[in-house]
Symmetry: C2
Subunit: 262 residues, 2 copies
Amino acid sequence: MTGERLRWDMVASANMVEVAALVGDTARATMLAALMGGQALTATELAFQARISRPTASEHLVRLLNARLISVTPSGRFRYYRITSPLVAQMLESMIAVAALEMPPRHRPRSARDEALCLARSCYDHMAGRLGVAVADALIERDYMHLSADGGVLTDAGHRFLCDFGARLETDRRSKRIFCRACLDWSERRYHVGGLVGAELQRRFLELGWIARTGATRAFKVTDAGKIELKDIFGVDLDVASTNRGLLAPRQPEESSQRAAG
Amino acid sequence: MTGERLRWDMVASANMVEVAALVGDTARATMLAALMGGQALTATELAFQARISRPTASEHLVRLLNARLISVTPSGRFRYYRITSPLVAQMLESMIAVAALEMPPRHRPRSARDEALCLARSCYDHMAGRLGVAVADALIERDYMHLSADGGVLTDAGHRFLCDFGARLETDRRSKRIFCRACLDWSERRYHVGGLVGAELQRRFLELGWIARTGATRAFKVTDAGKIELKDIFGVDLDVASTNRGLLAPRQPEESSQRAAG
DNA sequence: CAATCGGTTCGGTGCCGGCCGAACCGACGG
DNA sequence: CCGTCGGTTCGGCCGGCACCGAACCGATTG
């Protein structure tokens, strides 16, 4: 009604608003969180997780599809939904990271289900929880990798170690490409490793049978064989792995109640 | 009414929903976008930018404050609002990055205002737009830095160069900390550099008077002196700087309409 | 002190969108 | 062919929230 010209950046922010509004609904966010497990799920499974009727879920899924946040691949009479791109997963991660800042600091998990989720889970394509953080710590400990708030680096030794381990790190791009990303773990409040390195670690862990998916949830089960090998090859003992050494303070011996101020 | 126990991860996702819902409103998103300029702004300025009444703006600001997305510092009878932490800025960046994926591909800027914004602007604490991308390109060109989808690295030569340039890159942390982050530029659809390196570049550019803020907007003006020095020291000529070499394809000579599939 | 101005609080209005039940569509299986 | 099942579409209900004008609060200024 103002008759004003449409500004370009307004188009961009309008889309951002749309994306945010889509995530800003409990039902849709729950479905997206379920899809953050990295698996493709059916509409009924998603409706069940979000505790809404199938019609309602279907509407939500249509909207998420239109916004390209998720994609669908029909198979028989099923339709499998998944997160469209790592960019979307990364966005959701960062939103969880911000949301975790306002969580009550000492809110520890309660149920067995929570415990499983905090122990080991999938963060779209890489491992999170105590497992993810412990593995990252182990790599850092041996100078195979460095992580910080703004990025991560795989050392040459780390590259060799992971290649020996069976990770496929070769890329079609230039040599120096670093597919190693620090990802803030909302349960541990510390960094684990994402990017290609994280994805390859998860793929290889699954391939070797060290971890296994548990139904349609994000939680991983660490197999008995996995526990042994994990200790043997990575020096990681999850039963001993310290929990919550302090937010954003990887090497701090004693816990400090510091906030994540900028 | 179901009487079900509260699950831990539900608390986390509830917060995420709240955060997303806050951003998922045009008025609030516009205010946040304005604050992404990195400057602290008053309530009235924000109300004006969002084209809403002061009361409405005030309500929104209260909600953003409660969620810790923004902070306020009273000064006289003014109250200056700013983005609380880089983590929040990073989240907004990633949301814009996702939103940019669904934008019409060849939607070029129209007005002079758009043009200014696309030429050079602030992305919270570092430079974006053609300027930001060109500077990043220059650093990459000289092997001072590498950028990829998941991170960035500053080489030793780059570290020396930037220190000579006047950037303060020392940190209190361990030596290998890499404060170099790839940030997807929504107007150029390519990466510019964020993190400490990006912030220090912007700080130094402002300090040297190469760029200047233009009112309460995110746009930077590149000064005449800046243009000369920029070409002299960084080898960057903004008038020649290629626009839009292709989404996520930094070194591709011809444009290709590829999508950002995972 | 009164006038001005930045900012917030209050009360009331209007609309958008999340929700479900019922009906419908298409794939599979006998 | 009909029954079953996964999934979507339709119609209507309802709650929440974005919005504004008016009033109010506190700091600054003269």
